[in-house]
Every structure is written in C-alpha cells, then in structure tokens.
Symmetry: C2
Subunit: 458 residues, 2 copies
C-alpha cells in the first residue's frame, strides 16, 4: 500500500454537488419558458412510446424473468436481524453491514475486501435456493478468485485513479459466485460476468461516509442480478472485461492480463486473505499490536505509564495522524487513540472506537502521553515502540509484522474471540457460539438453515 | 459526434471473460488444498461476524428503510405490459424497454439519451407516491438538466474512454428527479447525488447486446435507490461529483466545471433534445430522409428505380457500411438496407429493421441497387442522393440536416405517428391515441392513473 501522487487532481473544483442539490430543490415549478415545457412534454411522450414498443421483446422477457425471481420478497435473511427481504436486497444489506465497521477481511495485494461482495450474494442466493455449505464454500473460493485476479491485473493504477476497488471489481466476484451456485453454463456465466462488468460501484471519495460500506453491498447485489439475468438469456459482450472498450481498459491504465491467465485454477487468492484484529486502518495495527504485547508481558496499567514513543513510517501519520479525535469514526484514524486503548484494554475492537470511548477520561489521559516519531527506515507494516514507566523502566518492542498479517495470521482462537465480541451483543452468547462453529466448519452444513437461525435474531 | 482515435487501446487482450467463465463452471468442487478450504471457512466465518456486528447501526437502519419502501412489490406499472413490480425494478425494466429499439431521444451535444434514466425512475416513483403530471414534468426537466450538464462537463473524453455516457451519468439525473419528486431537502438531495455518484453503469463495449439498454435502466434504478436511501438519512461525500477522488475526476480527464455552473437555472438542456424518426444509427438519417423525400416527390415505386447513389462522409460508412446484413440488428448498421426501406415504404421504423424485413426479396433487390461513395466534403450530418430511374431520369436531393435534427425538428404530427406506430401493436390503437394525448399534455394530468391505464395492457 502506498500513496500515489502521480495521478493529477484538481483540488479547486467548485462545490457543484451542493450547487446542483440547491438547484434541484429550490428552482421553482415551471421556472422556464413555455417552449421548454413543451419540449419536456414531447420528450416524455416520445419516451413513453419507445418504452411501450419493445415491451414484448426478448430483452424485456429476460430482464423481467430475473426480477420475478425476487418475488415473493421474504427470501433471504438479514444477518443479526429478524427481517427477511428479497435476495438481491439481502445481498445489498448484508454487504453493507459487513463493511460498516471496516473490520472485515483484506487481500493485502490489492486492499480488496474480498468476502463482502461475494459472501453477501451467495449466502442470500444460497438460502433461497437451498444450497449446501460445500456449495457455498466452492462459490466463495471461485468468486473471490475471479474478483482478486481482476483486481491484481488493474491494481494499483485503478485504485490510484480513485476507484474503491472492493466495489468496482467486486460485482465480478459476486456474479461468478452466483453463476457457480446456480450451475449456469459457460455462455451464461460469460454473460453474467459481462452484464456485471457494466456496473462497477465505488469511489474512494466516499471514505468516511455510509457510502463506503454501500460499495461491497452494491457490488453483491449487482453481481447477483447479473447472474439472474444471464440465467434467463440476457446478453452482454463476450469480451466485456478485456475488449478495448471493456471494463478493464476503460477504468485502468494498467491491465496485466497475465495476472488473470497464469496458473488459473492452480493458485488461490483466498489463501492470501487476512483478518483485522483491530477495528481501524491497517497501518495502525503494528503499533497496537506492540502496545498490547508490552501491556500483557509487563502487566502494565495506566498508572505505570509515563510516556509512549512510537517510531513509524511517514505514511502512518499521513493516514492516521489525528491527534485529538472527537468521534468514533475519527478515532479510527488516530494512531494515538489506538495505542491508548490497546494499552488500557488489551484490544482495539469496535467497542474501543465508539463516540463514548474516544472521550473517556482514562483514554484522553493516556492518549496525551503517546508521541509518534517519523522514521522512514521503518517499514510501513512495522512499528518500534518504547514505553517509559513511572518507576523508571524503559520497555521496548519492535513489531515487524502485526498480528493479522499474512506473516502472522490470527489464530482460530483469536478469530473466534473477534467473532463473539461482535456477535454476542446482537444475537446473544449462545447463538454466537453456534454461529461460529457452523460457519467455521461450513463444509459440514448440509443446508444453511441452522447457520442462518443462529446468525439472526428470533 | 466523431470517432476518437487518441485513446490507446489493447486490441490483443486474451479472452479472459470466456476463460474465467470456463473456470467458474468447470473447476471441480474443492479443487484445491485443505489449506485453501480452511482459509475459505475462516474467511466466511470472519465475514459473518462482521455482518452481524453492525446490524443495528444507523447505516443499516437507513439502507433497510429504503429497501422497505419497495414493499409490497406491486407498486409501479411496466409500460405496454400487465404486470406491476416494485418501483425500483419498474424503473429498471421501463428504462431497458425504452432503449431496446435504440429509438429514444438524443441530446446530440453528448450523445446522451436523456429521458430513459430520468423518466423511467420518476414515472415509477410518481405512480407509487401519487404525483401529478406537473410534478413529473418538473422532475424531468430538472433531472435532465443535472444529467446533461454533468455530461457536457466530461464529454467527449469520458465517452472516448469507453463509457456509455447515458448510463454512466444518467443515475445523477434519476437521483435528481426522484429527489425533486419526493421533495427532499438540500442536504438529502446532495446525499442522493453523492450516493448515486458511486454507481455509474455502462460500457460502449456492450453495444449490440441487451446490456446496452440495460444501461439506462440500471441508471434509473440506481438513482431512485440513492434518493430513497438519502431520504432515510444515508450519507455520502458532499463533494462526490467534483472532489479529486470524486466521480467526474475519476472517470474523465476533462472536467469543465463551467458547463455545470454557468447559467444554471437559466438555460435548459432539454430544449436541445431531439427524437429519432428512424430506428437506426443517427448518421444514416439524412440518407433515409433524402430517399423518402424523392420517393414521395416523384411517387417512385421499386420498379422505377435503376440505381441509387449516395455521397456521404467517411464516418457514415465506417459506422454503418454493412452491405449485406442478415439480422434485424445488423440492418440498423446498414445505410444500404436503410435507403432501400426508405424508398420502398417511405419510413424506417422498427418494423423495417426486423429479421424478416431484412431478408424480404423486394428489399434485397433494391438494396443491391444502392451504391455509397465517400466524400469528406459532405458533412457528417448530410447526404447527397442521386437516383437514376428506369425511364432515364436523374433525380437529385441534398439533405443538409435530416428530419429529427435540432435544425429540422420532428413535428408533433410526425412524433405522434411514431408513437402510434410503436404503441398500437402493443396496446391497441385506441389506447395508443389516449396515451399520446395524455403524455403530450402531461401538465394537464392531475394524477398519472389515466395515463398509466392507457399505456399498459389490461
């Protein structure tokens, strides 16, 4: 991960989103000439005839058949909740939910969050059509493979341009996973990928708003819809990904085809997947990891700590150098807050990044004792931490790779603790335990009913 | 409209869409190591917890409230058909239908088809919430204004890159129109435009497939969903359009902000809208127009015609030079076929571009007598036509601007004839007449019920 500074940008654009919003809201009804009003009616009338004309065309038949697959609406569960909705919107909502805390999995080669777009779609579809755990797992591996390989081929240029790659390539993973799950044939699957190629979602500009988690949700829904349409004969370009006016050349200057073609079916991108132990930006992780390690090794309490000095790469402070965050969201971009909660509580989950936690007196007090020093000799994935204790000891640790990295993966015990920490407050401790066991051993599920019963509220 | 040859393209990309489709379909279940399978289960289990955790977060509440607005599903009519579906999918399907014959309106400055994304969304929403004709028309004018101004700001670079601009900027028009119709406030409308900015649809690579008309439909649906989400408090960047990592800088090298800001609310892009008299590519129109004119002026029949010579700009043959089309779709890209049907039938509507029409003996016979000569002294929008008759006369006409251009707009009589030609075979002549009258005088509709009754089958 590196910041790109070569893509030119205009930082002085007028506030046109706001200007257009004011225009939409405030311009008076018929605030234009009769001639404009007349042309608007011609526009509407001409459009209406053009929509009536093809209403029995095979294009409509295919699209309507796909839409009809979404009815009746209560088809698929919303995780952690009681409601069911149609499977396309279940894919959307579960995809949004799984990225809301920015706590999901990461394919570090591309900063793709692989599961959101794929798992959200195949679980919703799988619940509706009665898939087995084995089938879900196959669709997950294969969907993520398609998704991350396309990501590899266009990263980093595509991301540098400003696309949020999780949503802008994720619909391909969703389409692939859903096509697999529905046992579409090769041509149908090619069409599903093709239709999905027309619907990338996601801009990095949305980071820090609800539209960031919308991206994997939208990708999940778009891929599922593409697969349903393809199943019913909807067509797309056979070269929608690679053609000169296909997705990859359109949205990236880099298109390394070999990243898709080489060793396909022999190497597996999901094997490179990582899980965040901490609910914040990944560059902070080594610093938290070191703080937790020193805390546990020396049984430190807040009273023991005089000063904390972390030496990190400049990128860390560029991305997460917020000294005095006041909201939970801001605190996720503060290495100072993160070190303080790591030292105080031995963890940095979602509960440590709430609006309440960020203003807790003990957190504020310890945060003020954390100093960060830039040292570009230290790798971006590393952190060097020194704690001066009130009784005069100097404690030191150098974290080369944080827990949760490919080099130091989270253990199943740690993953389960993270799962329960998030889920138990929502569905209760017993169901959280059940849901973990069923999900962690998904291949043993004959169907998804028990899993979904455990993962939702009754 | 000009072909761009400066955007570099790789024409030799391997067939990765097909390769990935084969992989998705044919790779065996668990065709990987235990370690990969294990990681897949960890990925799934971790994702599940991450989706359960935030399920009561305000992000989910806002998104779910928007989805719940789509139920119960029979909310909005499908034009020309009997069914009703939820309003988001009605927007999708009517948007698809209205572009299926490629016969809808055109904003020639950008080659945007303005009505599809906007009218499809606001009609579906308006039917559900009980809007008046006046409200629909206001939302149409304002939605198209937002849509085409953003289009003006990024055209032609954005289009040259390979985006199908109707779908890739249309969701902004849909979001604007729906926000207006629901009377959202400025901040909500800004959020609606912001959410929509993350979901451009459309690649030029899809031309010639069903995914081309999917683009305006998808844009209509995306904008409507964005407005519903914004209504319920979903957030996006306030500068989602113009920021360095916002939509416009991400998907275009050209961003002429003045195209958005200057004279906003004073000039109207819808006043520049045009309607196709002929159901084929716009560069063929002057040639058909001239053939129809000579046919009518001299009362020509097929037996009168010895030879037809058209002189046109090279672009015309580049785009529509198909000499021997065999399908209806191919015949839309044949200036030869188009001249033949214009001479034979005096029109070139959808009925003249069917699989049957293209192989009719009288069409084949006359088509063979049409010769096209490139002459770049003739403008792209013009055609010079000479007919040699069997009795030795030489008939000539030069069409500077075809009927349907801004310079020679279709009359209401012609627009109505086009409407009826398309609609009567679907809904019957009486309803077609009613639907035209109601749509053409939309401001007089107190509500949309009578219009929708006329525009659908009972």
């Amino acid at each position: 991960m590196a910041l790109n500074t070569t893509v030119k940008a205009d930082h002085n654009a007028p506030a046109i989103t706001e200007m257009l919003a004011k225009f939409v809201v405030n311009h008076p009804s018929k605030g234009w000439s009769d001639a404009v009003d007349n042309e608007a009616q011609r526009t509407f009338a001409n459009w209406l005839g053009c929509a009536i004309g093809p209403s029995e065309h095979e294009t409509l038949h295919a699209a309507l058949a796909a839409v009809n697959e979404l009815a009746p609406a209560p088809q698929a569960s919303l995780l952690g909740r009681k409601e069911k909705v149609d499977m396309a919107n279940a894919a959307l909502l579960n995809g949004i939910s799984s990225h809301t805390f920015d706590f999901d999995d990461t394919h570090l080669k591309t900063i793709i969050h692989p599961a959101g777009p794929v798992a959200s779609a195949i679980l919703a579809l799988g619940e509706h059509i009665g898939a087995s755990g084995r089938e879900i797992l196959d669709a997950l591996v294969i969907g993520i493979e398609v998704f991350c390989r396309v990501g590899n081929a266009v990263y980093p240029n595509h991301y540098d341009r400003g696309w949020h790659i999780t949503g802008s390539t994720g619909m391909l993973g969703s389409a692939a996973g859903c096509a697999r799950l529905m046992k579409l044939n090769v041509l149908q699957t090619q069409m599903a990928l093709g239709i999905a190629a027309s619907t990338p979602t996601g801009l990095r500009e949305q980071f820090g708003t609800m539209t960031k988690p919308f991206h994997p949700g939208s990708a999940a829904k778009a891929g599922l819809m593409a697969a349903l349409m393809a199943k019913h004969g909807y067509t797309a370009s056979k070269r929608a990904l690679e053609a000169p006016r296909g997705l990859m050349q359109v949205f990236s200057d880099k298109t390394d085809w070999s990243e898709v073609t080489e060793n396909l079916g022999q190497t597996w991108e999901i094997a490179l997947n990582t899980y965040k132990p901490f609910a914040c930006g990944i560059v902070i992780h080594p610093s938290i990891d070191g703080c937790v390690e020193l805390r546990n090794q020396y049984k430190l309490t807040a009273a023991d700590i005089e000063k904390v000095t972390i030496k990190v790469h400049s990128l860390v402070l560029e991305l997460t150098g917020k000294k005095t965050p006041v909201t939970g969201l801001e605190s996720k971009f503060s290495v100072y807050h993160s070190c303080a909660v790591g030292l105080l509580y031995g963890q940095a989950g979602e509960h440590e990044y709430t609006d309440e936690a960020v203003n807790r007196p003990e957190v504020l007090s310890l945060r003020a004792k954390v100093e960060a020093i830039v040292d570009d000799a230290i790798a971006e994935a590393s952190s060097d931490i020194t704690i001066l204790t009130t009784d005069g000891r100097t404690l030191h640790v150098h974290i080369k790779n944080a827990i949760g990295s490919v080099e130091r993966p989270m253990s199943d015990v740690q993953l389960k603790a993270k799962f329960v920490d998030q889920s138990a407050p929502v569905i209760g401790a017993e169901k959280a335990e059940q849901a973990w066991n069923l999900a962690r051993n998904l291949v043993d599920c004959k169907d998804l009913k028990a899993l979904l019963a455990a993962a939702t509220r009754s």
